[in-house]
């Protein structure tokens, strides 16, 4: 060790000199930026992935006295950690690709009257609908759309109050909600499924918890824990062999207006209030999953679409004697995962014939290969063809929407 210590300062000095020479010798070419990977190899990177000018120098702050240019060395280090170590969670598998391919191709209609419609609702559907909106607007420049999140319940409230034309709803619309909207708007409510999703219970990727039953979820989340003799507050209560032992179990939930949480509560604690012990409400589903990624003891509830590599969605015991089922695109599509649900667009009209043609075309677009491709990229599961709302969008002509 002492020999190493005496060598290090001289090495550092040598390194500095060499670095200065190295920078001069091999300047980055503007057209071919490169990454220095952890294995020491230089690899050309895609220019479109670069978020800043190729020099990596930030815009100097106007009021600063001595702006510090970020180090090419530091930038290279971080870049090296990027692509080489990236393992996306939503791998666009062959399976998903086949699902997407089974949808008809979208053919734009001529003479679609321009229009404006606002969408509001589910956080889970937020990125999906925003991305679809951008593509749809590029097909029909005379159609203007906007998407805002805030939760399923807020979306329905906005539809009821006339603040939006389309509500994005995760899960079914209850009879009471439907009746309230029909009463307020004096129009019929249409709910059309556009994708599939599931409510998932997430834990940290290193947490070995195998599965959860309805009674256990009730014991964790309900303040009255009607299905569990005692409230579940520690990890050892769920699994005596858990490496987390008697560590507390903090729970992370999306807000009260979240359809995800409403569906979950309806399943495991109908009519019961959520516990107040170690409970944290997060601003979005993404934030819930982020907490599970960061904290080894965290447990959260969020949609399947919010999944990330460092969080694991726990298998759920269906309670009918079958083994516990883990959520996946396949188990959600074949409905074997107990907490599957449809993601719906909800709107009002006097009858099916008087629905805004722009909305009809948008639904049709979502039911196309392009639309479902966006769904898959946004981590949402493509729906099964039997759910197609043919009364609204019609029937495809072979492999095309016409």
């Amino acid at each position: 060790m002492s020999r190493d210590r005496t060598i290090m300062p001289s090495l550092a000095a040598l390194a500095l000199v060499l670095a200065a020479c190295g920078e001069r010798k091999d300047p980055p070419k503007p057209g071919a930026p490169k990454d220095l990977r952890p294995d020491g190899t230089l690899v050309e990177v895609d220019e479109s992935q670069r978020r800043r000018p190729s020099s990596g120098v930030p815009v100097p702050p106007p009021t600063s006295t001595a702006p510090v240019a970020p180090m090419p060395a530091a930038e290279a280090a971080v870049r090296a950690a990027g692509a080489a170590l990236y393992a996306p969670v939503s791998e666009y598998t062959k399976e998903i690709s086949e699902m997407v391919d089974s949808f008809p191709a979208y053919v734009p209609v001529k003479g679609l009257p321009g229009g404006t419609f606002r969408m509001r609702g589910s956080d889970t559907m937020g990125a999906y609908l925003s991305n679809a909106q951008a593509r749809f607007e590029s097909i029909y420049p005379n159609v203007s759309m906007s998407m805002r999140t805030g939760g399923t319940e807020r979306g329905l409230a906005s539809l009821l109050e006339g603040e939006c034309e389309v509500a994005a709803v995760a899960g079914p619309v209850s009879d009471a909600q439907r009746a309230a909207i029909e009463k307020a708007t004096r129009k019929r409510v249409f709910a059309v499924p556009v994708a599939l999703d599931a409510v998932c219970v997430y834990v940290n990727a290193d947490n070995p918890l195998p599965a959860l039953s309805k009674a256990q979820c009730n014991g964790i989340f309900s303040i009255t824990h009607s299905m569990s003799p005692v409230p579940i507050l520690r990890w050892e209560q769920l699994d005596p062999k858990s490496p987390l032992g008697d560590a507390f179990l903090p729970i992370y939930l999306p807000g009260y207006s979240s359809g995800t949480f409403a569906s979950f509560a309806e399943w495991c604690m109908p009519g019961e209030e959520v516990t107040t012990i170690l409970r944290y409400f997060e601003p979005s589903s993404g934030s819930v999953v982020n907490a599970c990624c960061a904290y080894p003891t965290a447990l959260g509830v969020a949609g399947f679409g919010a999944r990330q590599a460092r969080a694991r969605a726990v298998a759920i015991d269906p309670g009918d004697g079958r083994p516990a089922v883990a959520p996946s695109a396949v188990t959600i599509r074949d409905r074997s995962y107990p907490l599957h649900r449809a993601l719906n667009l909800v709107f009002v009209a006097q009858d099916a014939a008087s629905i805004d043609p722009a909305i009809v075309q948008f639904v049709r677009y979502l039911w196309s290969e392009d639309g479902q491709d966006i769904a898959a990229i946004s981590n949402i599961v493509p729906p099964t063809l039997d759910l197609m709302p043919t009364d609204i969008v019609g029937t495809p002509d072979g492999d095309f929407w016409k």
Binding site: L18, A81, R148, C293
Partner: protein, 335 residues
């Protein structure tokens, strides 16, 4: 006596009216009531005049930048200390250097609201990139945990700070903008220098302008005093920046050093130097070992020589004894 029932009736009617008014506002929302609940809290804060001023926001934003620096310093030191893996140290140093310099860069942005949204974007994207994707654990293994938790805490802090400036609707808009941008740019590796203007484009500018003009929880900007305030802020920002630079300037040197140490040729040289150093360190042991071996060989040889000498002596004695015996026998025969 007559007035009593009429007073009673008036009270009952008033109560009914009050109930009807309350029901009138809540009934249409049956089954979806939480939206108005959340927004009413924003309105209540505005009505109670609890808006924060630009000066307060500037202070809070600077405080966040300092806290971010502290979080990164603490977490990165735990990863780098006693870590002999040059690549791990190099990436960690790059992460903290880019993160902190970006955060202080944002703190010197002329507009206070833009500062906040930029901090929000950078920290949220860093969480997507380093925490959620599992990169941290793949790079640093078990050592990653302090950094992962530090980034998460930074996220909690900045969203909590943003909730004091933006209404819930505006926060949702921000969150959706970031999530949508990330879904389109998954894998972008240089997140520390992504700015809100890039994430939300024109929509974002409109949002910032709305907040500036008072459509949020920030006190609207007084155009009359704006110039004077701006000059004061500019001066403060330059001091703020100048004071912070020395805090992380040594990371720049470290970044260069790690970068050079990670070069294949230098890495090879360092490895051979280490090999030589290790060899030198083990020399005394090796000499001792050789001496021991020589000693054992010597001992073996001595034993062997002793044994041979003894055998030779025995042989010589036997031969002489034989010869003497033969001579004696011949003399007897001759006599």
């Amino acid at each position: 006596m007559r007035s009593r029932p009429s007073l009673f009736l008036t009270r009952v009617l008033a109560a009914c009216l009050a109930v009807a008014t309350v029901l009138g506002t809540t009934l249409p929302n049956a089954g979806c009531s939480s939206a108005s609940k959340v927004r009413s809290t924003d309105r209540a804060r505005i009505l109670r005049n609890q808006r924060i001023t630009r000066a307060q926001l500037e202070e809070m934003s600077n405080a966040f930048a300092d806290r971010y620096f502290t979080l990164m310093l603490g977490a990165s030191e735990r990863v780098i200390r006693d870590n002999r893996d040059v690549q791990q140290c190099r990436i960690m140093n790059g992460l903290r250097l880019l993160g902190v310099s970006s955060m202080y860069d944002i703190s010197t942005t002329p507009d206070t609201v833009t500062q906040l949204v930029d901090q929000l974007v950078v920290v949220t994207l860093q969480n997507y990139f380093w925490v959620d994707s599992g990169r941290s654990h793949r790079i640093w293994g078990e050592r990653a945990q302090p950094m992962v938790e530090a980034l998460r805490r930074a996220r909690e802090d900045i969203w909590s700070l943003a909730s004091q400036v933006f209404t819930d609707d505006q926060l949702e808009e921000l969150d959706l903008s970031i999530a949508t941008w990330w879904s389109r740019n998954v894998g972008t590796d240089f997140v520390a220098y992504v700015r809100f203007s890039e994430v939300a484009s024109t929509k974002g500018e409109a949002l910032v302008e709305k907040v500036r003009s008072g459509e949020g929880l920030l006190e609207p900007i007084d155009r009359a005093t704006e110039q004077a305030e701006e000059a004061r802020f500019a001066l403060e920002r330059s001091f703020f920046w100048a004071k912070r630079v020395p805090l992380f300037s040594n990371w720049l040197v470290l970044a260069l050093m790690y970068d050079v140490l990670a070069m294949p040729d230098i890495h090879r040289v360092v490895e051979s130097l280490e090999t030589i150093s290790r060899t030198a360190a083990t020399m005394p042991d090796r000499v001792n070992m050789v001496t021991e071996r020589v000693g054992s060989v010597e001992k073996t040889a001595t034993t062997l020589v002793d044994r041979v000498f003894r055998n030779v002596m025995i042989l010589v004695v036997t031969v002489f004894a034989g010869i003497y015996g033969i001579i004696l026998l011949r003399r007897r025969k001759a006599s």
